[in-house]
C-alpha cells in the first residue's frame, strides 16, 4: 500500500468536508472533556477517601451543663462518669477494636475550635463551656463504629457518639453524583460524536463515490479503500481529543491548582500528575471511537 497516496486522499477528504470535520472536532472535544472531568472527579474521590478515611475518628461526646440529649440532664459529666467511659474503652470487650484514643477537655476543644475557625464570627461567640469534652477514638477498622455506639450509647454522662465518616459520606455522595452526571453527559455526547463521525465518513465517501466505484471495479483491496476514510475520522477525532486533553490539563492547572487549592487549603486535590494520566487516555479513546465508527460507516460501501 502506498502511504503517500493514502495520506493525500485523507488530506483531500478533510479539506472537502471541512465543516463536518470541524463539527466532529468540536463534539469529540466537548464529550471527551466531560469524560476527562469524570475521570478526574473519580480520582479526586479516591484520593480524598484514602486521605480522610484514615484520619476519620469516632467522637464520644460527653455531657455539658447545657446538654439535654443522650444520658445528660443538663449536668456536666462528672469525673467518675468520665472514668467509667474510659474504663469501658480499656475493657477487654472494646480494647481489641480500638487503635488509640485520647481525651479532649473543654479547654482543648475550645483551643482547637479557635484554631479551626479563626477569624470567623463563630470563634468569637463560642466559649469553652459550650463545647463538650470528648474521647477521640481511632478504630482498628473504621467500619466498626457501631460497636462503640452499642457499648457506650447508654452510659451516664455520654451525650452522643459520632462517626466523622458520616459527614464524609455526604461529601463523597455529592462528588459521586457530580461524577456520574459528568459520565452521563459524556455518554450522550459520545453517542453524538460517534453518529457524527459516521455521517461525516458517509458524506465523504459519497463525495468520492466515483473514485470508490472505480477502485472497486479495478480491484483495489478493501483495506486500501477503507484506510483513508478511517484515517480521516481518526484525524478529526484526534484533534478533538487533543483539545480535550489540553482542556483537562488547563482545568487542573488553573482552576484546581490555581483556585481550589487556595479556597480549600486543607483538602488534597488532584494535580498535574493525574491530568497527565487522563490526557493520553482521552487521546486513545477518541482515536479508537473514530476508527470503529468510521469503519462501520464505510463497510457499507465495500459490500460485494
Amino acid at each position: 500500500m502506498r502511504l503517500g497516496l493514502v495520506l493525500s486522499e485523507v488530506g483531500q477528504g478533510l479539506r472537502r468536508n471541512l465543516s463536518m470535520v470541524v463539527s466532529v472536532v468540536l463534539v469529540t472535544f466537548i464529550s471527551l472533556t466531560f469524560v476527562g472531568a469524570a475521570m478526574l472527579l473519580q480520582m479526586q474521590i479516591t484520593e480524598m477517601k484514602s486521605y480522610w478515611f484514615d484520619r476519620a475518628q469516632v467522637a464520644v461526646y460527653l455531657c455539658t451543663e447545657f446538654a439535654t440529649i443522650g444520658g445528660c440532664e443538663q449536668q456536666a459529666a462528672t469525673p467518675e462518669q468520665i472514668a467509667q467511659v474510659e474504663a469501658q474503652l480499656e475493657s477487654a470487650t472494646l480494647a481489641p477494636f480500638i487503635d488509640t484514643y485520647y481525651f479532649e477537655t473543654q479547654e482543648e476543644a475550645y483551643a482547637n475550635f479557635q484554631d479551626q475557625f479563626a477569624g470567623t464570627a463563630a470563634a468569637e461567640l463560642v466559649s469553652p463551656e459550650f463545647l463538650p469534652p470528648a474521647f477521640w477514638v481511632d478504630l482498628v477498622d473504621v467500619d466498626q463504629s457501631q460497636i462503640l455506639v452499642d457499648a457506650l450509647g447508654g452510659l451516664a454522662g455520654v451525650e452522643s457518639i459520632e462517626d466523622e465518616r458520616a459527614y464524609l459520606d455526604g461529601v463523597f455522595d455529592m462528588l459521586n453524583a457530580s461524577s456520574i452526571t459528568a459520565v452521563g453527559i459524556a455518554a450522550l455526547m459520545l453517542v453524538a460524536a460517534v453518529l457524527l463521525i459516521a455521517t461525516t465518513i458517509r458524506l465523504s465517501a459519497f463525495s468520492r463515490r466515483r473514485e470508490l466505484g472505480i477502485m472497486r471495479l479495478v480491484g483495489a483491496s478493501n483495506r486500501f479503500i477503507q484506510t483513508p476514510f478511517i484515517l480521516e475520522g481518526v484525524v478529526a477525532a484526534l484533534i478533538g481529543s487533543a483539545l480535550a486533553g489540553v482542556a483537562i490539563i488547563a482545568i487542573v492547572e488553573f482552576f484546581v491548582q490555581g483556585y481550589l487549592t487556595e479556597a480549600l487549603p486543607l483538602t488534597s486535590l488532584v494535580g498535574l500528575d493525574e491530568a497527565l494520566l487522563v490526557a493520553p487516555v482521552l487521546l486513545v479513546a477518541g482515536a479508537l471511537l473514530a476508527a470503529v465508527s468510521a469503519n462501520v460507516a464505510i463497510t457499507r460501501y465495500l459490500r460485494v
Binding site: 472505480i214 471495479l217 480491484g219 459490500r303 460485494v304
Partner: protein, 260 residues
Amino acid sequence: MIRFEEVTKVYRGTARPALNGVSLEILSGEFVFLVGASGSGKSTFLRLVLKEEKPTSGSIHVLGQDLGAISSRKVPYFRRNLGVVFQDFRLLPNKTVFANVAFTLQVIGKSKGFIHEAVPDALRTVGLEGKEGRFPHELSGGEQQRVAIARALVNKPAIMLADEPTGNLDPATSAGIMTLLERINANGTTVIMATHDAGIVDRLQRRVIEVIGGRIVRDERGGGYQTQANPILSQNFGMPGSGAPAGATTVGSSTAGEPR
C-alpha cells in the same frame, strides 16, 4: 474461461428474474457480442461475471475460479484480472488522462516505476500518446472512451467486459473503438461486449449471444444482430415462463462451448 451453469438471478423485490436458467461457456480469446433489448439481462450478466452480484441459483466459474466460493475479501484480487468499460466512460474529471489510467495501478499498489512504464504503453495501444496531460473534459467522446479502455487494459486483464462502449459515440468514432477492441482481442484478451449497435455486430461477424427476458434465445458464431425478424416471437420470450418455442430460434444451431 467463463462458464455459467443454470444461472438465475432474481433481484430483491422483483418477481421476474433478470436472468433465468442461463448456461453458457465462453472460451479464452473469444470475442462475444451480448445483444438484446434494454432490461433483457445483459448488464446483469456482466455484473455477475464481475461478482458485483451473486446469482440466486446456479454456479459461475470465471478464470477457473468458482465465484460462489470467493470470499468478499478476495473479490478485489479476482477483479484485477478483469477490465471493464462503460457507456458513460466513468473517468475521474479532476485527473489527467495519465492520472486516470495510473489510478488503476496506484490503487492496487503497483510501484511508481511500473506505472511509468505501463501507462504510456497502454495509452500508445489506444492511440492517445501525446495527450497524457489533458483532462477528460478537453477530450472528445471517442478519446474519453479510449482513456477508459486504456484504464481497463493497463493491468493486462485476461477478460475485458464492455457495457455498450459505443452507446454514446457517433458511428465513425464507434468504428475506431471497435477496431481497437478487435486489436485487443487479437492480442489474446477475451472480449465480451454488450451492445445495441446492429451495424457493428453485423459487420464484425463474431459470436453473438442474444438475451430476451433473461433467457438466451440465440448463441450463434459469426452471427448478426438480429436473425429472428419476428417481433411476436420476441414478445413471447419476453413473457415470464413462456419458455422457448421449439425450433423458433437458432439455439439449436449454436455451437456453444466449441472453440472457433
